[in-house]
Structure formats: C-alpha cells, structure tokens
C-alpha cells in the first residue's frame, strides 16, 4: 500500500501524482505560521484519505518540525489516521443521547452487516466502521454518519437498507 515510499522511482511517481502537488501547495501556504501543523494535517488527510509515512515526512520537512512531533500529534488526535480507510467512513454516535436511545444495538447490527469490528475496514474497501462521540444532532438520536450524510432516529432494522444505498451506488458507478 505504500509502494510510493519505497524504491527509487518514488520521486518520479510523486511528481505525477496530483495529490503530492496539492500537499506541496498546502505546506507552502502554511509554512512559517505558528500552529500550522494541525491544519496542515487536516488538509493532507482530506487529500490522501489518511496520513501515510511519506506524507508525514513531507509535512515534517515542509513545516520544519521534528518527525517525532508529527507522529506524536497524529497518534494523540483520534481523527488522524496513518492507516488507509474505506471509501465511506461510517461513524456511529456513542454520545450520551444516542447511547440512551439505543445506539449500542445499532452498532451491533452495523458490525454484523459490514462484517468488521470498530476501527476496521470491510474487505471490499468500501466501509470503515468508527465510533464518534456526538455530532451535535442529538435531537435525532441515535445517529450515524456515512461520509457527509447524517442519518437519525435509527433502529437496527434501518441499517441494511442504508448501507445498501452505498453498495448499489458503487456498483452502478462502476458499471
């Protein structure tokens, strides 16, 4: 998965990759500003979907902070990840309002349907299952997000149908 970081063609590969160009622009935009590391990591993760080692190295060099500090920040904040993730991030809310309204049962159903445990990505690379702690839509508890979409007033029975929308969209997109 990190072929680009190894071997001698990495520079050639990177040069062709739009994403690295974007990263260069982001770093240039923030370099020299105090407190730039977290905003830059946010942008980088948006571009790459995660924060692979070579991106961390480029950020460290570009912002002139030690690599250990970049790593320390990534491991501290739960939204940063150095592992690739599925195309859609499912965030099941386990905030208090959602928990009281039965989010645990929805989570169990999600585990069953996606076929993975919390923090893991489905074999087809489509979904990553994660727990969030309140997205501020507590009035609609229990709530989950898939990518940018928010689903409220969930019951375990709703889960299969919702997931299917993404699975079908994927199939049609590829066809």
């Amino acid at each position: 998965m990190e072929a680009a970081t190894r071997g001698c063609q990495c520079h050639a590969l990177r040069a062709q990759d739009e994403r690295y160009k974007r990263l260069g622009e982001i770093i240039a935009q923030y370099a020299g500003q105090p407190g730039a590391l977290i905003p830059v990591l946010h942008h980088a993760q948006e571009v790459f979907g995660y924060l692979p080692h070579d991106v961390q190295v480029l950020v460290a060099e570009g912002l002139d902070v030690p690599l250990s500090e970049v790593d320390g920040v990534i491991t501290f904040y739960s939204l940063f990840t150095s592992e690739p993730r599925g195309k859609y991030k499912i965030g099941i809310c386990l905030g208090t309002a959602c928990y009281v309204k039965g989010a645990a049962a929805v989570l169990e159903e999600l585990k069953k349907q996606v076929g993975v445990d919390i923090g893991k990505t489905s074999a087809d690379g489509l979904f990553t299952l994660e727990v969030t702690r309140c997205v501020g839509a507590c009035g609609l508890a229990p709530v989950m997000t898939i990518g940018d979409d928010v689903y409220g007033r969930l019951t375990p029975e709703d889960v299969a149908g919702i997931l299917d929308k993404y699975i079908q969209a994927e199939k049609n997109g590829k066809a």
């Binding site: 105090p34 940063f80 905030g95 009035g139 508890a141 928010v150 007033r153």
Partner: protein, 597 residues
C-alpha cells in the same frame, strides 16, 4: 422587506438538514414560483429553531403558525392551502404530548412559551448566512457603542457588574477574566472562543455557531477591544463541519463590511479572528489543552497557575470563554448590566441554554432563566417522558457531572443548586432517562468515555479509569463481587486527588452520583445478579406469562436457538439454559406475553 406579506422561516440547522429540510425548502420555493407567490412570500433559511426531533420544521409569519415533520409534498400543500387559500393545514400542526391538542402557533407551544432567549435571540429567527439580517436586529450596534462611547475599563466594569458567569462549565465570573487579561502585562494578547463542545449529547454551541455566527464575532471583537487583543481564535470541534462553514462565511462578510480587520468603525482598533478545527480529542475542551492544541501540539493539559489570562496561547495573556458566554455579551452591552441582573437567581444571573435529549418528548434546545425548576424543563417545556414511562433521572454536566432524580424535580436549577446535590451545570447538556435505564450501565458508559478520552498524562486518571471501567463492566455482566462498591469508591477518590486536569478530577462523578442515589441498583446487580431496569442483557431472564400467552407459536419460529417449546394454543415456556437473550421472541409476540426481568 415590507413588500412581502408572509415570511416563512425554514430551519436549516444540523438536525433538520439530516431530516432533509433542503428538499422541503426546494419544493416550497418551487411551488411558490408555480402559483405565482414568489414575490409575496419570503422564505428565510434559519439556524436551529430548537425543536430538532420535529424536523423539518417551518414557522409562518405574521401568524406564527408552526408546521412540523414536513415532506416536500407537505410544503406544496402548505403553499396551496395556507398561502393561497388562507387555510391552515391542520394535519401538519404540532400535537401537545400530554393534552393531545393541536397547537397552531409556535408561541402557544409550551416548548417556546416558557423560554427566555438571550443567547439564542437570533438563532432560528434570522438567516445566519446574511449579515444584513443580523444587523437589522441590532447587530454590531454593541460593537459600535463600545468603540465610540466606552473605554476599555468601562466595558470590563459593565461585564463585571452583570455578574455573567462562564457557560462552559465552571461558572467563573466572566468580567473577572476580562479584567485579569486586561491587567496582565504584555503587548500581545489573544481572545479565544472554546467551541469544542465536548459533552457528548450537547449541541447548544453548535446551534449558536450555525444559527447566529455574527453574535460570536461581535462579542469577540468587543472582548478584543476590552482586553487589548488584536487577534482571536475560535476552536471548533471537527465534528461540526456546518458550523465551520457558516462561521467562515460570517467572518468573510464581517471583514468585507469593515467590522473585522484594520481600523474597525474608523477607530484605531484592529481585530481579526481565525478558526482552528479540533481533531477529535475531548480533553482539548479543557482550557490549557485547547491552547496547546491551537499551537499545533498534542493537546495535553498543563498545571494552572499560570492561568490563560496570564500565560495563554503562544505564552501570551489570553481570554478564553465559551460560545454561549460570548453570546450574552452584546445584549448586556446594549441593554445594560442592570437589565441582566433582573433575570435569574441570586448568584446565577441571566439564562441558561439546555440541550434536552434522551427519553423525552420534545428533544431540542431551550433557553430558560436561571432558577427554572427541573420539573418545568422536563415536563412542561420538554413535554415529559414518551410512551407513558416514568422519569428516572437526568444527567447534567455530561461525563463530569452527575444525575438528578425525582427528588430533585423541584430544585431551581442554577450553578449552586446543582453542585449541592452532587451534579453540576456543565455546559448545558441535559439527558433525560426513563425507568428502563440502568444507572449502573450509564455509569459504565461514562467511564468508558472518560477512559477513552484520558490523555494518559496522569497515572491515576489513566489506570484508575481503566480499573473502574473493568469493575463496572463486570457488574453489568453479572460478575460483580462483594466489595466492588468499596473498590469503586476508593478508586474514585484516588483519581480525583491525583489528576491534573478537570477530566480526571471529575471522571468518577457519574459513578459517585449513581452510587449515592441508586446504590440499591448496584447491590441488586452484585448480590442478586439482577438488573432492576431490565437492561443488562447478561442478567436478564426472558419468561412467558402463562396468563397472556395464547400459544400461537410465533416465538418458537423466531427463536434462533430453539429455546421455546409448547403445544399449540397452550402457554409456551422458554428454556433459560438455551436462551441467548437475543430478545427476538419478545419483539415478535403479538400479545406482549414475553417479558424480561
């Protein structure tokens, strides 16, 4: 705006967006075009109106008719019936949960009638994306007044005099913070807004950011002037993308109007605000951790003193307050401290916004005077508990707080009264729990949260919360032992004493509070291996009531392990040794003959 005969406020708050209000609004606009009313009816997209679980909602003025749970077709019907023919669409009105009566106007709904809106004065009323709407409601008048008529000391005195206290949790007097920051030596100072809103189950700050972002900008500029800062930061949690979007838009507008930037209102005061987005760490809501996070580092708390007012972001004096605290500033400046002092209780002035959620009929956002009773909030404004269940408890203060029980329904909610009964005001999250909620499991839930979110710096917090969680988990799984309660208490006190920041110091509170008010539930789990609320799966027994069972046999078909047997038309039995407690039979039984104990 006078040429419009009707204004329709359509909520576009986060809750309603996820109930698909955008499609409702599109249908509304489209139908208005089609019937030729687009010139007469103005549609205004607002922030959260407060009644999130009734979304999508709209309010039609001048009458103030409140429509709820709308679909795009409903919107078209409203255009044709209400706007064209003047007939209210009764089936889309709100039905009061207790009396079951239809209520036509928003102002007649208990939910709105009992509120007093200061911080939320514009939320749900104006379009947050249009600065002119804010300005039309006295927006930026307070900043103008401050810059043209008041000295820095006068501004600080007015805030001090108002007795406004921080709405982010601790209730520290806001005016004093302003004074400390003002007096702290140093040329470079900062103003920071804590919009991390970490209490899971609370969304007051989110609604203000999304529904009235200019009130925050204006208040931070006033604070900047008063303490002598040129730069502000708003630290918003990453889970609130819409808030970031609306705030960014508002900042751009304010800059283009010369309300932020160099020489505001032609004075020599210059001020601007940047946004910092969190990255999913609850502890970053703690003020010293938040400041470190703005600096781009791991958000670990540090000891206080020095307090942020002396040594804050980038080591400079920093004023740090919560969103709702700032949202009170402009009204205080405009109407004066004396007006504010007339609202609330002796020691807690003004109002408090609560996010009511959980087992309650009207979930949503409400702002009430300090001193309103818990009963009024839960039963009158909140409409009581759904499905005729009994009220059991309400949690305030989130994972740092405690629970209130039926014996507390008549306390007048303010900072002092909540503290007295072992809870705290916190940021305003109020989670209502009905009789089916297991308080041991709730305590376990909060410990799971704090253990997850401990930054790990202090051993008592890191290891202690893990140990407490283990014990609580054991108890809910029916493996509790004699002495567990005492162990929990000992751990709680060790964690409180040995933790650096508020997260650790308050993490044991939900356990101590439930132990205090619901000790018998812990004991039932430990000694009798019984969950009185019928929630903890491992302790449940599914039984068939022979009186109610008609022997239809449906349950035998859904039971995945074949634990149910019986002859047709005769009472069935569940073999508890085989039963995996999946609950499938209980759901299936058409006669409610299966219960769990």
């Amino acid at each position: 705006m006078a040429e419009y005969r009707t204004h329709v406020l359509v909520c576009a708050g986060a809750g309603c967006v996820s109930s698909n209000c955008k499609a409702v609004e599109a249908a509304l606009q489209d139908e208005l075009e089609q019937v030729g009313l687009a010139e007469e009816v103005k549609v205004v997209e607002t922030g959260c109106i407060g009644t999130c679980d009734l979304g999508p909602v709209m309010v039609v003025y001048p009458e103030g008719v409140f429509y709820q749970k709308l679909t795009p077709d409903d919107a078209r019907e409203i255009v044709n019936e209400h706007f064209l023919k003047g007939r209210i669409v009764r089936r889309l009105l709100y039905k009061a949960p207790q009396s079951e009566e239809l209520v036509e106007r928003a102002e007649d709904m208990d939910f709105f009638r009992r509120q007093y809106r200061i911080a939320l004065r514009n939320t749900g009323v104006i379009n947050p994306e249009v600065i002119e709407e804010y300005i039309a409601r006295d927006g930026y008048a307070a900043l103008g007044k401050v810059l043209s008529e008041m000295s820095q000391e006068q501004v600080i005195d007015e805030i001090k005099k108002s007795c406004l206290r921080g709405r982010g949790g601790a209730g520290f007097p806001t005016g004093l913070k302003w004074e400390f920051t003002y007096k702290a030596p140093g040329e470079e100072k900062y103003v920071v807004c804590n919009a991390d809103e970490g209490d899971p189950g609370a969304f007051m700050d989110r609604s203000i950011l999304e529904g009235d972002p200019h009130t925050l900008i204006e208040a931070m500029a006033i604070a900047g002037y008063a303490v002598g800062a040129r730069q502000g930061f708003v630290y918003v949690r990453a889970e609130y993308p819409l808030a970031v979007e609306r705030l960014s838009m508002a900042l751009e507008q304010a800059r283009s109007y010369g309300l932020l930037g160099e020489n505001i209102f032609g004075t020599d005061f210059s001020f601007d605000i940047g946004i910092r987005v969190g990255a999913g760490a609850f502890v970053c809501g703690e003020e010293t951790a938040l400041l470190t996070s703005i600096e781009g580092k791991r958000g670990e708390p540090r000891p206080r003193p020095p307090f942020p007012a002396v040594k804050g972001v980038f080591g400079k004096p920093t004023l740090l307050s919560n969103v709702e605290t700032y949202a009170n500033i402009c009204p205080i400046i405009l109407h004066g401290a004396d007006w504010f002092l007339g609202i609330g209780t002796e020691k807690s002035k003004g109002t408090k916004v609560f996010a009511i959620a959980g087992d309650i009929n009207n979930t949503g956002l409400v702002e009430v005077p300090m001193g309103t009773t818990l009963r009024e909030i839960v039963f009158e404004i909140g409409g009581g508990i759904p499905h005729g269940k009994r009220f059991k408890a309400a949690q305030t203060g989130g994972p740092s707080g405690g629970c209130l029980t039926t014996e507390h329904l008549d306390i007048h909610v303010d900072y002092e009264s909540l503290k007295q009964v072992g809870s705290m005001m916190g940021s305003g999250g109020l989670i209502v729990m009905d009789e089916d909620t297991c308080m041991v499991d709730i305590a376990r839930f909060f410990l799971d949260f704090t253990r997850d979110e401990s930054c790990g710096k202090c051993t008592p917090c890191r290891i202690g919360t893990t140990r407490m969680l283990e014990i609580l988990t054991r108890i809910t799984e029916g493996k509790g032992e004699e002495g567990d309660i005492e162990k929990l208490e000992a751990l709680a006190h060790a964690i409180k004493a040995g933790s650096l920041c508020g997260l650790g110091q308050s993490a044991p509170n939900p356990v101590l509070s439930t132990l205090h008010y619901f000790r018998d539930e812990y004991e039932a789990h430990i000694r009798e291996k019984r969950c009185p609320a019928g929630h903890c799966i491992a302790l449940l027994k599914f039984v068939v009531d022979p009186e109610l069972c008609r022997g239809c046999g449906l349950c035998t078909k859904v039971c995945p392990v074949g634990a149910i047997s019986g002859k047709r038309r005769e009472p069935h039995q569940i073999d508890t040794d085989l039963c995996t407690k999946c609950g499938a039979c209980q759901e299936k039984c058409p006669f409610d003959a299966i219960s769990r104990h």
